[in-house]
């Protein structure tokens, strides 16, 4: 029951740096994601804000809140009890040393405030609810076996559930009135009861300050235990149900608690006004005792009798209704001055309470308090609550470490990185990892991984997480949930990935840490089974056509990040670095202008054939590593998988099918990274993209609504055009789509792309027109000159200006085109750098894609389908997507076809909306 989920995404520094150095590569993105949402059954509210660079999502499980809220009451009750009963007038928590200091202050506060505080003795349903919740939470989730063991002996309780229920109830009622608990209900192995006894028996009792209070207390006890067990059982059962379904009061409860939080935080002063009203009445000297009594009464009169009167009412709702009758207005309940929430130091002190349920309740309450409340988180930190919570992670009781983990998850979420650091500083990260190894409880695992996800959003913690948790997270979560098996049993069927919350959280955490630079990448790549499992998960996603979810997004982002600089960072990369032997010089060297090298073309041809063979024989590698590639004696594994040509198909499938912009961006980014290097593998990747009909897929994504998708695709195309053949194809068929993304004149296109994107597109265009007058001609035909000139002259962005200027200069350098240009009304001055361009560029030195060493390119609209679309335009008829692919396919291999198409292009008028707009698609279903 995660109470809060978060997601944060922030562009990583690494990204921009990387970009700066090697513009043509996609850089890893630092994606920070925090936490996942809660249980599926719960209400989840998501707050999303997207400011362009940072995305943050908080999800809160409302039902959890409700529970937590209720717990508050329980806690309060106990606290009240304890404090007065403490051996030396101090609260009990003495046993838990870490908190003793707080104990002190709490005590004082109690005393002091107690005098002022006031509680009217009135039965209300609120109290009842509080009680109910107290067992639901503190006991309902305690391992049942315990209770079953105890009560199994009772003849009447054959049904385990019932026993459990009645037991829980009994316990809950009893704590305060311990002495009345029948011996038979106290099995030796029950830890709960004995502890209670200690607390309230020998320690607590003697300390009761007020004689009258004690009397009251005693007097009330008999009443409690008179009700028949069966009535209690029913009641309990209903509580169980209630726990799962939030009821109507929930929002109010949350609100109410929240509202009082600040007060709790600051001490009680804020709340005093409420109580002042009642102060007049006068009450027992010891306000705490008074409160205790008050609490009891309502329970007895209000709630307790109700189930007995109507035993058939099993649902909590009915209880609520009954209660409602007694206290007509919820508001009045909430305002009931008899209730006081424990303040923050008290809650933190309770974390050290000897009774486990108190600990867990306190932790759960903290979780609730911290939800979306940065102030409280900070206060918890400053009150040294975080080390205590971390300490509870090692607590043997599931209930305790679960709740502690929940609190830590909320605390770890948010922009206040100091909270994260505080968790790390008390060794919270190894403690979380330890618990992850230990527990099989899915909910706890969700909480742990959610917390780790939150922590991983802060740069300095990334390496810590890697050091402590990488292999554990991989072994415990990623591998098992991905469906991948180290050594698949011949008989066993390949398993699909399970998109569990745990997997999502863990992949989110790894996604974040994977952006922490070369060392982090190295660690992840070399983490045994990680890449294999991620790939398997993604393949399973593609197979199931389930590609829009967050887990897939996380996996692709990790893959993209790990693909960054593979050609430099992977062990043994040197061996593949000598491209001249394999590749014609012209096709190598992404940063240099390529020469139109015939040899290159020939070389590619050979390779294409080679690839074709591979394709024919099935996509399973083996065929890939012939000729140039070193023989693979065994299947690739680990990081090698990152750059095998087989991954191209995976990424292309994602690019085709996914609707998730982040996934699209990451998949395009992965291709961008893989096609960037100058080693053997990137040559094959570039050719494989073409062979797998990836170019039209990418070009189509230039029309995406998403800025970052367009950007990633544009840069990928630029890298891919290092391959001469790709360059020709992209020049012929992508120019229009590229150009259409450019702003025209002062006004941006509808998309209003960011500067980075526009620059990326300009650079891609530059790359494409460099060394290819044919492509430059396509650029002119795509009506790009007007846009380029406008950008060059009027853009507010120095980077855009510079990039456009590069393109223009390149175009003007083709003498054979000047005639055409002149006819269109352009002259040399249009192609010269704007006077201001250079200065602007230098002063606006934002790292980007506008590396001067990189050629700039023109862009074209998608040429692949231009003709088809033109034909179809008016008819509004197209072929289904498959047909589309086949129609485009020839373009990739057939140069003649390309020219044919090009010549078929109608002259484009300057304003031709049709050309710019996406062409209609038509799909058979």
């Amino acid at each position: 029951m995660p109470a809060e989920v978060k997601q944060e995404q922030s562009p990583s520094n690494a990204t921009s740096l990387a970009m700066m150095q090697e513009p043509q590569e996609v850089v890893e993105e630092t994606v920070t994601i925090e936490e996942d949402p809660g249980t599926p059954t719960s209400h989840v509210s998501v707050v999303t804000s997207d400011d362009g660079t940072t995305r943050r999502t908080e999800t809160k499980d409302m039902s959890t809140n409700v529970k937590v809220t209720k717990m508050v009451k329980t806690v309060t009750t106990r606290t009240v009890r304890q404090v007065p009963l403490g051996p030396d007038g101090l609260p009990l928590p003495e046993g838990s040393s870490p908190l003793s200091s707080y104990t002190d202050s709490i005590d004082r506060r109690y005393m002091k405030n107690g005098g002022e505080r006031f509680i009217t003795p009135q039965a209300t349903s609120t109290l009842t609810r509080a009680y109910n919740n107290s067992y639901t939470d503190s006991y309902g989730e305690t391992p049942e076996s315990q209770y079953i063991r105890h009560y199994g002996l009772h003849d009447g309780y054959t049904d385990l559930t019932d026993n459990y229920g009645s037991l829980s109830r009994g316990i809950n009622f009893r704590p305060p009135r311990y002495p009345y608990i029948p011996n038979s209900y106290r099995p030796e192995n029950s830890y709960t009861l004995p502890i209670r006894k200690d607390d309230y028996g020998h320690v607590a009792q003697p300390q009761v300050p007020m004689g009258s209070s004690t009397v009251d207390l005693n007097r009330s006890q008999p009443e409690r235990f008179q009700p028949e067990p069966y009535g209690l059982e029913d009641d309990r059962r209903s509580l169980g149900h209630e726990e799962e379904e939030p009821y109507e009061l929930e929002p109010d409860y949350s609100t109410a608690n929240r509202r009082t939080l600040p007060g709790a935080n600051r001490g009680r002063t804020l709340r005093e006004p409420l109580r002042d009203v009642h102060r007049v009445r006068g009450y027992p000297d010891d306000p705490i005792e008074a409160e205790l009594i008050d609490e009891r009464h309502p329970y007895i009169h209000g709630m307790y009798s109700a189930p007995l009167a109507q035993p058939e009412r099993g649902s909590m709702a009915s209880l609520d209704r009954m209660a409602g009758r007694r206290s007509p207005s919820i508001d009045s309940i909430r305002k009931d001055p008899r209730w006081r929430d424990p303040d923050l130091p008290e809650v933190i002190a309770m974390l050290g309470h000897p009774i486990d349920p108190v600990k867990s309740n306190a932790a759960a309450y903290l979780q609730h308090l911290c939800y979306e409340n940065d102030k409280i988180k900070k206060d918890v930190r400053q009150l040294k609550g975080i080390p205590v919570l971390v300490g509870l992670l090692d607590h043997p009781k599931a209930e305790v470490h679960r709740k502690a983990c929940g609190a830590l998850r909320n605390i770890s979420y948010g922009k206040d990185n100091e909270n994260k650091v505080a968790i790390k500083n008390c060794d919270g990260i190894p403690a979380l990892i330890r618990l992850l190894r230990k527990t099989n409880d899915m909910e706890v695992r969700e909480l742990i991984t959610g917390t780790l996800w939150n922590l991983s959003s802060y740069e300095p913690l990334k390496m810590v997480i890697i050091n402590h948790g990488l292999q554990t997270m991989t072994n415990e979560v990623i591998i098992p949930h991905s469906g991948w098996e180290h050594e698949p049993n011949e008989d066993s069927k390949p398993r699909d990935a399970e998109w569990t919350t745990v997997f999502k959280n863990t992949s989110g955490c790894l996604r974040n840490v994977s952006s922490d630079g070369a060392e982090a990448r190295r660690r992840l790549r070399e983490c045994e089974g990680l890449v294999d499992a991620l790939l398997h998960a993604l393949q399973s996603a593609v197979g199931k056509k389930d590609m829009d979810n967050k887990s897939v997004e996380n996996c692709v982002c990790i893959m993209r990040n790990l693909s960054y600089h593979v050609h430099k960072e992977v062990p043994g990369a040197e061996r593949f670095q000598d491209p001249s032997a394999l590749q014609p010089p012209g096709s190598v060297g992404p940063q240099r202008k390529k020469k139109d090298d015939a040899g290159c073309f020939g070389g590619k041809k050979a390779k294409e054939e080679w690839f074709n063979q591979g394709r024919k024989n099935g996509e399973n590698d083996k065929n890939y590593d012939t000729l140039d590639l070193p023989k693979r004696t065994e299947p690739s594994k680990g990081f090698e998988l990152l750059y095998q040509p087989e991954v191209v198909r995976l990424y292309l499938s994602l690019l085709t099918e996914s609707q998730n912009y982040n996934t699209l961006e990451a998949a395009a980014g992965a291709l961008q990274n893989l096609s960037a290097g100058q080693w053997t593998w990137s040559n094959y990747i570039r050719a494989t993209v073409r062979k797998e009909k990836g170019l039209p897929i990418l070009v189509e994504l230039l029309r995406s609504d998403s800025d970052k998708v367009v950007r990633a695709v544009a840069i990928a195309l630029r890298n891919l055009s290092i391959d001469r053949r790709n360059k020709d194809l992209i020049g012929s068929y992508a120019m229009r789509d590229l150009v259409s993304n450019l702003p025209s004149g002062q006004q941006r296109p509808a998309k209003n792309l960011e500067e980075d994107t526009v620059v990326a597109i300009l650079n891609t265009i530059h790359e494409i027109v460099t060394d290819s007058s044919e492509n430059a001609r396509s650029l002119i035909q795509a009506q790009a000159i007007e846009k380029l000139v406008a950008i060059n002259r009027t853009s507010q962005s120095a980077r855009e200006t510079k990039a456009a200027s590069h393109v223009l200069q390149t175009v003007w350098s083709y003498k054979e085109l000047r005639n055409t240009l002149t006819k269109d009304g352009w002259n040399k001055s249009h192609f010269q750098p704007a006077v201001t361009a250079t200065p602007k560029a230098t002063k606006n030195g934002k790292p980007g894609y506008d590396d001067t060493t990189l050629p700039l390119m023109e862009k074209n609209q998608d040429g692949y389908s231009t003709i088809d679309q033109r034909d179809k335009d008016c008819k509004y008829k197209t072929d289904d997507s498959l047909a589309d692919l086949t129609e485009r396919e020839p373009l990739k291999n057939d140069t003649n076809r390309k020219h044919y198409i090009r010549s078929n292009r109608p002259a484009v008028s300057l304003v031709d909306a049709c050309d710019v707009k996406p062409q209609p698609v038509d799909s058979w279903v």
């Binding site: 997207d50 008829k877 289904d880 209609p920 038509d922 279903v925």
Partner: protein, 148 residues
């Protein structure tokens, strides 16, 4: 039918249930669709309002399941199995229609003739009138930010 984004839209619709046909590995419906919010609505020959980005039936396979079920070229698809189709991308619509796990597709469609029939004979129309909300296109994106 024209819409104001964000405003409810009222249309006369007809329910059409199509049993998919097994063709090799694929289940087919036997018609093709055009349109979608990512397409240029101006090129849709079937829409009355050229800003309508809805999903339209563009072709029907003679004798195919769609024709048998009474679908006609030019029909505008309002819903597929309860999913709104008036504000989806082309591909989203295609995916909803080609869901492999469903072999029956229930469509709500509207066509001009239906409107006219209703106009002429008010009261005894067999068609249902549904009301749906047009989402604005911006909302489409937000789904990606929810945790799934």
């Amino acid at each position: 039918m024209s819409f104001v984004p964000g405003q409810p839209v009222t249309a006369v619709v007809q329910r059409i249930e199509i049993q998919k046909l097994c063709q090799g590995e694929n289940l087919i419906l036997g018609f093709s669709i055009g349109g979608g919010i990512d397409q240029d609505p101006g090129q849709n020959p079937f829409s009355e309002d050229k800003s309508d980005k809805g999903i339209y039936v563009t072709r029907i396979t003679p004798g195919g399941p769609a024709e048998v079920a009474g679908l006609r070229m030019g029909d505008k698809i309002m819903q597929v199995n309860g999913w709104d189709m008036t504000m989806v991308t082309h591909d989203q619509a295609r995916k909803k229609l080609t869901n492999k796990r469903e072999d029956v597709v229930r469509l709500l469609i509207t066509r001009r003739s239906l409107e006219e029939v209703v106009k002429q004979s008010k009261g005894k129309s067999p068609q249902t009138v549904i009301e749906g909300h047009r989402a604005t296109q911006g909302q489409q994106r937000t789904k990606h930010f929810h945790n799934c």
